[in-house]
Amino acid sequence: MTHRYIKLGLTAGVLVLAFAGLLWSTLQDGTEYFKHVDEVMVNPQAWEGKPLQLHGYVIPGSILKRQDTLEYKFKVQNNPIRDVNQGHVVEVSYTGIVPDTFKGEAEVVLRGKLTTNGFHTDPGGVTAKCPSKYEAQARASAPGT
């Protein structure tokens, strides 16, 4: 009887270890840090190259679009635009279609990586929250969500 339990225990142990190992290895490249602009820009070097989801607010008037392309450059700050102090600001580059709700003052979450010359957003990595008054089901429309 004890023999059987040892066998069972060993099998379970091996399975659990294998599972934990696999989970660990996939979590390594499957996860992204969810950060606010301030948290990252206090020490930008530490975050360069890491997969990030960056939360901030688009500064009105900062959105630039290159003529006849889908290349965008804009600035994002930590605090809502109406706030007294704006917090840190980061320059963002993006190529692709932006959601309808993406405009000055919009609350955005950007998926991408920080580089020495600003935040580089992945394709389809712009998610803008609706400035919606609906308490529920106000789904942010974004390519890739």
Partner: protein
């Protein structure tokens, strides 16, 4: 009307408590009369909820905007259809809809089974009544859909969210709810079986159909959500592993596992603990899913607001479910011993067992992934999110294993097989799988992992199912002397469950076939000027510019695209953006889709420039996507066949799902064939004059704005966050004071409240009584009453169910006095 609604909810709550107590008492005293009375009260709940539903729908139809829920979720110009569906458009109403459905399903289940499972019925009634009590309690104290504006009633409502004004979205929530709520019935029967100790297989027979029925609607709800995401949101896909999607998927996994393992118990009397556990877990996951999406625990793009009170109530309820149910399971473990052991790993029951483990693993994994951001924040303090890629990486192999088991299971015999015996069984399915894999990999050059393998496995499963049908029909035709086709129909009619199940497998295979098409998905974003062309896959797309039209309701900007294949013009695509009057900030995306069985060409108008007529387009080629929808149609057909009663008209009610399934198929076929996207938006009201100053800039300021009530006297005690009508000078001033205080560095809630009390001299402007001293009683009272009535009910149920000679009088008045005494005691203690 609103007070009638609230009254009906309270009446339903009281009736539920009565029915719970009297049923338990009746069961323990073996009194037929008490049990009948409990059942009667149970039917009465259904009647009361129907009346309450009628009141709410009437309020929507007549536009009674004095009811907040009606004002928030509809407006006067909304079409009739969406006025009706606004019933479940928000949280309050959807909880009420939940109770309404549960009371109907409960009554049906009790009515159908009242003779056959007489010993279980009182506890089924009690369980469902207690569940109903929880939701009714939630509504009455926290989310009452009949809450009214006290004085100034808005002239018009805010309208239902434009994204929800879509035919799919109108039927998607009720379908999901039907699935979720239906899972309560198996749970109630499981609990009843555990309490009474009647743990033979009879309770399983009672719930099998219910589980199948709920499972069908859960699947239907999931598919509708996918179609909606595909056609309405316009990002080119249909599944994104969003927490809200995952919440609905979790019980689907465990319910599917249960539908399989139940067969093992019926055949071999094994897995008895497991089956009860699956029923409990499935029910728990339906509640957990609701909790997860509605409480703000998980961040989602669906952005359902934070609601800590709701979260706490749900946590309490979930803890009770888990301790109570698993306590019962542990107590009844001796009765749940398996009568047989697994003879061999090469047997059908072993295949079912593996299938169950994989299903459960899938459920746990999705749960883990969904909760991961919350977990990581709790453990490490840093919020880590997992992307869809993480789920795909894990769920792809899980899905492939399940697909393989779909093909392997039917080929294995019960109890034990030997390799010699099964080798010929595997010959044809194996060959068809290999051929499919070879065609995919060599001819279509699809990578073997994972899509090629998926095609191969689809071939294998298809081979298995065809072989099963062929063999069965051949034997039947030989024995009965009929032709093959008649034999086939007879075969399915004779073993509806088995062959219905196989047809469901065909549907699943087709859905996987559709998923595998993702390997060849193309996705491009381009900017085109009039006359310019772009190529995607075999298609050449030429832009002819944009046109703006206005139909009085909305401004429609449409891109005119021509599609060429090999230089021949084959079609035109007209993706658009519609900006509704008064909703110009939220334009809706009208996707243009060219559907074929092979692939969809999908075009989204991402942006446009009227000056030079250039358009920004997202173009997607989605191979095989229509097979996912079609596969569901087949799945529904199979479930319908499995649900058909063994003896026709044995009980007419159980026949309903079959017809529902047929309707479903018909509906899906119509949707597929029409080839048009059903876009049913309409003009909605909603006022934009909420643009006065001092919007909350921080969560703290927002919280405070919701704490303080405007003193203008005209708005009917709205908070200063809400009172922005006409613009209101008083609330404007108050918001200004609040902002100034916060700017000056006051970040203490009490300090701000004290300052406001000092300035205005009363507590009048507090949105809620201060949670301190005597005022705390106001906070505690509803909870105390709720909790003590629950205790009192339990107490009464036990006391009243002693043997007749021990018990006191049985007049209902005595219950009231016992309850009142108890509540009195509790309240006195508080003071």
């Amino acid at each position: 009307m609103a007070s009638l609604g609230t009254f009906l909810l309270l009446a339903a709550f009281v009736t539920c408590s009565y029915s719970a107590v009297i049923s338990v008492a009746g069961a323990r005293r073996r009194s037929r009369r008490l049990i009948e009375s409990g059942i009667g009260a149970f039917y009465l709940i259904c009647a009361i909820m129907t009346a309450a539903t009628a009141v709410l729908i009437n309020a929507f139809l007549t536009g009674d905007f004095s009811i907040k829920y009606v004002a928030h979720n509809s407006d006067s110009v909304q079409p009739l259809f969406y006025k009706l569906t606004s019933y479940w458009g928000g949280l309050d109403g959807s909880i009420m809809f939940w109770v309404f459905l549960l009371s109907i399903f409960g009554s049906l289940a009790v009515y159908v089974n009242r003779e056959r499972h007489r010993e279980l019925i009182p506890y089924v009634v009690a369980t469902i009544s207690v569940v109903n009590m929880f939701f009714l309690f939630l509504m009455v104290i926290h989310k009452n859909p009949f809450t009214t504006y006290l004085t100034q009633v808005p002239a018009d409502g805010e309208g239902l969210n434009p994204l929800l004004q879509n035919a799919y979205m109108a039927i998607h929530p009720p379908s999901l709810y039907t699935g979720f709520v239906g899972m309560t019935i198996p749970f109630a029967f499981g609990i009843a079986a555990l309490i009474t100790g009647h743990l033979d297989d009879s309770w399983l027979r009672a719930v099998r159909r219910w589980t199948m029925f709920s499972w069908l609607f859960l699947s239907f709800g999931l598919i509708l959500g996918m179609i909606w995401a595909y056609e309405e949101l316009g990002w080119g896909g249909y599944w994104a592993w969003d927490p809200v999607e995952n919440a609905a998927l979790l019980p689907w996994f465990t319910a599917t596992a249960f539908l399989h393992s139940v067969m093992v118990q019926e055949r071999r009397s094994m897995l008895r603990v497991w089956n009860v556990t699956l029923v409990i877990v499935t029910y728990f996951l339906t509640i957990f899913g609701t909790f997860m999406t509605r409480s703000g625990v998980v961040q989602s793009v669906h952005a359902f607001g934070d609601d800590p009170i709701l979260a706490r109530l749900f946590i309490g309820f979930m803890v009770i479910i888990l301790t109570f149910s698993f306590g019962l399971v542990i107590w009844r473990l001796p009765l749940l011993k398996a009568r047989n052991e697994l003879d061999s790993w090469l047997s059908r029951e072993a295949a079912f067992l593996v299938n169950n483990w994989v299903m459960l693993f899938a459920a746990l994994f999705v749960l883990f992934g969904t909760m991961f951001p919350t977990l990581s924040e709790a453990v490490t303090g840093t919020r880590l999110t997992v992307a869809g890629a993480f789920f795909n990486k894990w769920m792809t192999p899980v899905g492939l294993v399940l697909l393989m088991l779909t093909g392997v299971g039917p080929l294995l015999a019960w109890r034990r097989s030997s390799f010699d015996k099964i080798a010929p069984q595997f010959l044809w399915p194996g060959l068809s799988g290999l051929v499919a894999l070879a065609i995919a990999a060599l001819y279509f050059k699809i990578p073997v992992w994972p899509s090629g393998l998926c095609f191969g496995l689809c071939g294998f499963v298809a081979g298995t199912i065809v072989q099963e049908f062929w063999k069965g029909a051949a034997i039947r035709s030989r024995n009965s002397g009929t032709d093959l086709l008649t034999a086939l129909v007879g075969l399915v009619g004779k073993n509806k469950r088995r062959y219905g199940g196989y047809i469901v497998h065909v549907g699943i295979t087709l859905i996987c076939f559709g998923f595998a098409g993702n390997a060849r998905k193309l996705d491009e974003q381009v900017l085109l000027k009039p006359g310019q062309e772009t190529k995607i896959g075999k298609y050449t797309i030429k832009s002819n510019g944009v046109k703006v039209a206005d139909d009085g309701q909305k401004q429609m900007t449409t891109a005119y695209l021509t599609v060429f294949v090999d230089g021949k013009e084959i079609d035109g695509l007209y993706p658009a953006k519609w900006a509704y009057r008064r909703h110009e900030q939220e334009p809706t995306t009208e996707v243009a889709i060219r559907r074929t069985p092979v692939e969809d060409l999908y075009a989204v108008l991402g942006g446009f420039d009227l000056a030079d007529q250039s358009v920004t387009l997202q173009l997607v080629v989605n191979p095989l996507v229509n097979w996912v929808w079609f596969g569901f149609g087949i799945m529904a057909l199979g479930t319908g066949i499995a649900l058909l009663p063994e003896r026709s008209f044995a009980f007419a009610l159980a026949k309903m799902p079959a017809e529902a399934a047929a309707t479903t198929v018909a509906l899906l076929c119509v949707l597929l064939l029409s080839g048009t996207s059903l876009s049913a938006q309409s003009n909605m009201g909603g006022d934009m004059n909420t643009r006065t100053s001092f919007y909350a800039r921080t969560p703290f300021e927002k919280e405070m704005q919701h704490e303080i009530v405007c003193t203008c006297g005209a708005c009917g005690h709205q908070t200063i966050a809400e009172c922005r009508k006409d613009p209101c000078a008083t609330s404007h001033e108050m918001r200004g004071q609040l902002a100034a205080m916060i700017d000056s560095g006051v970040h203490d809630k009490d300090q701000i409240i004290q300052a406001f009390i000092a300035k205005y001299g009363t507590e009048e402007m507090l949105g809620a009584p201060v949670d301190r001293g005597f005022s705390r009683l106001a906070w505690l009272l509803p909870y105390v009453v709720g909790a003590s009535s629950a205790v009192a009910i339990g107490f009464a149920a036990v006391k009243w169910s002693r043997k007749p000679d021990e018990a006191a009088v049985t007049a209902p008045a005595a219950i009231d006095s016992a309850l009142e005494e108890r509540i009195d005691d509790e309240l006195r203690d508080l003071d």
